[in-house]
């Protein structure tokens, strides 16, 4: 995996920490180097710090996305939700806020790798706990009980299921579920998610399936 961070201390710490977890790690300090490494060395995961000098994290992300199929986890010292949304909409797979512990980071990396591995298999049934979304038959069951959803509710759940474990932004959901010309706002997604939770027998105040990503959107537990 490739670590992109301009601080040498951080590079060293991550190289050590991740190698103990059996990752093959390379570290670079700029966006340009990251793009070169991503195309020549072909890492599975890129850990990209947004606060890079010169070519910044967003520009790097935009340049990386067509060049590589690697999962990109964005790292930022600023817990600004707008940055998270921007990064996710620009194609990042997940984000981690600095500072973080190695364990937490490893868990995130394993999660994106797992998701990446799932996608080509094209599994027709996606599970989240006792929730099952059968994409081939367009059916949703909880504990074997069939749940009837409206087309909009199903589309939203399907999209979250296809990206299970990944945070999906409000804007992406609006575009995917309501279409490019949706005069959307976040109430739509909030309302539909509340309806789905109700039908799934889930509790908004302590959800099991669709969880909130505050300021960002939703995520279906993988």
């Amino acid at each position: 995996m490739l670590v992109v961070d301009d601080e040498v201390e951080m590079q060293r710490a991550l190289r050590a920490g991740l190698s103990y977890h059996d990752f093959d790690v390379r570290a670079v300090g700029s966006g340009e180097e990251a793009i070169r490494e991503a195309t020549s060395w072909r890492p599975d995961v890129i850990l990209l710090d947004l606060g890079l000098p010169g070519m910044d994290g967003f520009a790097t992300l935009k340049a990386l996305r067509p060049a590589t199929r690697a999962a990109v986890i964005v790292v930022s010292v600023m817990p600004g939700e707008k940055d998270k949304v921007r990064a996710l909409d620009a194609g990042a797979d997940d984000y981690v806020v600095k500072p973080f512990g190695t364990e937490e980071l490893v868990a995130r990396i394993r999660a994106v790798l797992r998701r990446q591995a799932d996608v080509p298999a094209g599994e027709p049934v996606i599970r989240s706990g006792d929730l099952e979304v059968d994409l081939a038959h367009r059916t949703v069951t909880v504990n074997g009980r069939v749940v009837r959803l409206t087309p909009t509710e199903y589309e939203l759940l399907r999209y979250l299921a296809l990206h299970a474990g990944k945070p999906v932004t409000h804007t992406t959901l609006l575009r995917q579920v309501w279409g490019d010309y949706a005069v959307g706002d976040k109430y739509n997604t909030r309302y539909v998610v509340a309806q789905i939770r109700k039908k799934l027998g889930d509790d908004s105040a302590n959800p099991r399936y669709i969880v909130n990503e505050p300021g960002v959107g939703y995520r279906l537990e993988g």
Binding site: E7, E9, M10, R12, A13, L14, A16, G17, L18, Y20, H21, G51, V77, M78, E81, K98, P99, F100, G101, T102, E103, L105, K186, Y187, R190, Y191, A194, D203, S204, A205, N206, P207, V211, N212, P214, G215
Partner: protein, 495 residues
């Protein structure tokens, strides 16, 4: 002087001359033929005199006409005898006509003169107002007003004083003494006029004491004070009318000046807010980056794969705990200073249950050892809040509850709609808060904990208050309960 007298006497001469001319004409006509009622011709003259020259000449003319007519045409001709009621009546009619016509004419003239004066006045005012309002410099415009006011006979002075944050300063109309400035500031502060007042749109002089007339009158305006030197003895209604108009204009201009100042000040604040935000953002980066490297390094070495001894690993884990604490404190301090800098709230309708869900999820690990009960009614109306900020309130209060509840203790989160707000509470069954401390728990840097930063609850208070809500704490039977209110979404949003 002689000229004025001549001008005053000229109409009388004209009256006498006119009447003599008419008398001659009547004499000429009667010498040719006997025409009755020729004395009516005098009426024409008297009418003309009354209309053109006013009452005095008209009366003089009518008396002269009567005398001449009596002398020349009423038998016995050549004497001033008045015989019988008919002649007396004739005299009375002539006099009456003179009086009535001159009265009518005079009032007509006065009205016309008044209308002309008014038109002149309005035009002058209009020109002044346009010039003043167009002038980019308020002080220049105010000086124009001041100059115009002192052109009035009874106005010796017209100064405009602005009072900016209690500090009086003269904007136009000459210097003012310290005493006068003090008086102006007092008037402004208390909204009380001195010596002059506007009632029902009319200016009224309130001076009765002759000594007081040597000092100016003060009239508080919306954004300043007019200081007027006025002599009540010569203050004609016209002057007062003009003064009223000028004061109205000055009021407008002072208001405009204040608005401009406020805009400027707001712009200044905005700039300093931007600067503050930029400093905070870079500070955040500068402080958090080293902590990030520390934590990444410490946790890397603490992994069993690093091959360190158990006690060495424990040391690293402890150190990572300290780094995490440091990070929290830096985060809290930055959050608090952002709130104090007046952070922009990103308010949107939210279901309160969703906010609780996010907070509970974030603190999954911490809450694991406790009995958590959430009682948020399904039909609770949506709240209009900044998701991230209120999320912080919930996590801070939940962490506080986790801290104080005994292990395996109970934590309750609840909410209910009450009096147009949502009232939420978080309760734990830990020890009560000392009564004396109940008011202080929300103070910045106050903490019951040895290792607390004392910022968590202070942040809660600021966030809740930024939303127009209130937060409080009380000791319930079970344990301490924090209660706070949040605004409802303005329209019923289906959520």
């Amino acid at each position: 002087m002689a000229g004025a007298l001549t001008r005053r006497l000229a109409p009388y001469a004209l009256a006498i001359g006119g009447v003599i001319a008419v008398t001659a004409a009547i004499g000429l006509i009667t010498s040719l033929a006997s025409v009755p009622g020729l004395s009516a011709i005098y009426l024409l003259v008297v009418l003309w005199l009354g209309a053109r020259w006013g009452r005095g000449p008209a009366v003089a003319g009518s008396i002269a006409a009567f005398l001449l007519y009596d002398f020349f045409f009423v038998p016995p001709v050549g004497t001033f005898t008045v015989r019988g009621p008919a002649e007396l009546l004739e005299l009375i009619v002539l006099l009456a006509v003179a009086l009535v016509t001159s009265q009518l004419a005079a009032s007509l003239r006065r009205t016309r003169g008044g209308a002309e004066a008014l038109a002149r006045e309005s035009r002058a005012l209009y020109e002044l107002a346009t010039a003043a309002l167009r002038s980019p410099e308020v002080t220049v415009a105010l000086t124009m007003l001041s100059r115009r006011a002192t052109e009035l006979r009874s106005i010796s002075r017209f100064s405009l004083v602005a009072v900016d944050s209690g500090q009086p300063s003269v904007l136009a109309g000459g210097e003012a003494s310290l005493e006068e400035l003090k008086q102006a500031a007092w008037c402004h502060e208390n909204g009380r006029p001195v010596g002059i007042a506007v009632r029902d749109g009319e200016l009224k002089l309130m001076r009765t004491h002759p000594e007081a007339q040597s000092t100016p009158a003060y009239l508080p305006l919306a954004s300043g004070v007019a200081v007027v030197g006025i002599d009540p003895a010569t203050a004609a209604p016209d002057d007062l009318r003009m003064l009223t108009a000028l004061i109205g204009l000055a009021d407008l201009l002072l208001d405009r000046r204040r608005a401009a100042l406020e805009t400027e000040r707001a712009r200044g604040f905005e700039a300093s807010d931007r600067l503050k935000a930029a400093i905070l953002s870079s500070l955040s980066h500068e402080l958090k980056s080293p902590i990030a490297s520390l934590r990444a390094g410490l946790t890397a070495l603490a992994a069993p794969q690093a091959g360190l001894l158990p006690e060495q690993r424990q040391l690293l884990i402890d150190l990572d705990g300290q780094a995490t604490r440091l990070d929290r404190m830096v985060g809290d301090m930055l959050a608090l200073s952002r709130l104090e800098a007046g952070v922009q709230l990103d308010k949107e309708p939210h279901r309160f249950a969703d906010l609780v869900g996010s907070a509970v999820r974030q603190l999954r690990a911490e809450l694991a050892g406790h009995e958590l009960a959430i009682t948020v009614p399904d039909d609770l109306p949506p709240v209009e809040v900044d998701e991230m900020q209120v999320g912080r309130v919930l996590t801070n209060l939940l962490e506080n509850a986790v801290e104080w509840a005994p292990s395996q203790g109970a934590i309750e989160v609840g909410a209910a709609a009450r009096n147009g707000v949502v009232e939420a509470w978080i309760e734990n069954d830990g020890p009560p808060i000392a009564t004396g401390d109940l008011d202080r728990v929300f103070d910045t840097f106050w903490t019951r904990r040895v290792r607390g930063s004392g910022l968590g609850l202070a942040i809660c208070k600021r966030v809740v208050e930024a939303h127009g809500g209130r937060i409080s704490v009380e000791n319930r039977r079970r344990g301490p309960r924090f209660t706070f209110t949040l605004p409802l979404a303005p329209i019923t949003v289906a959520l």
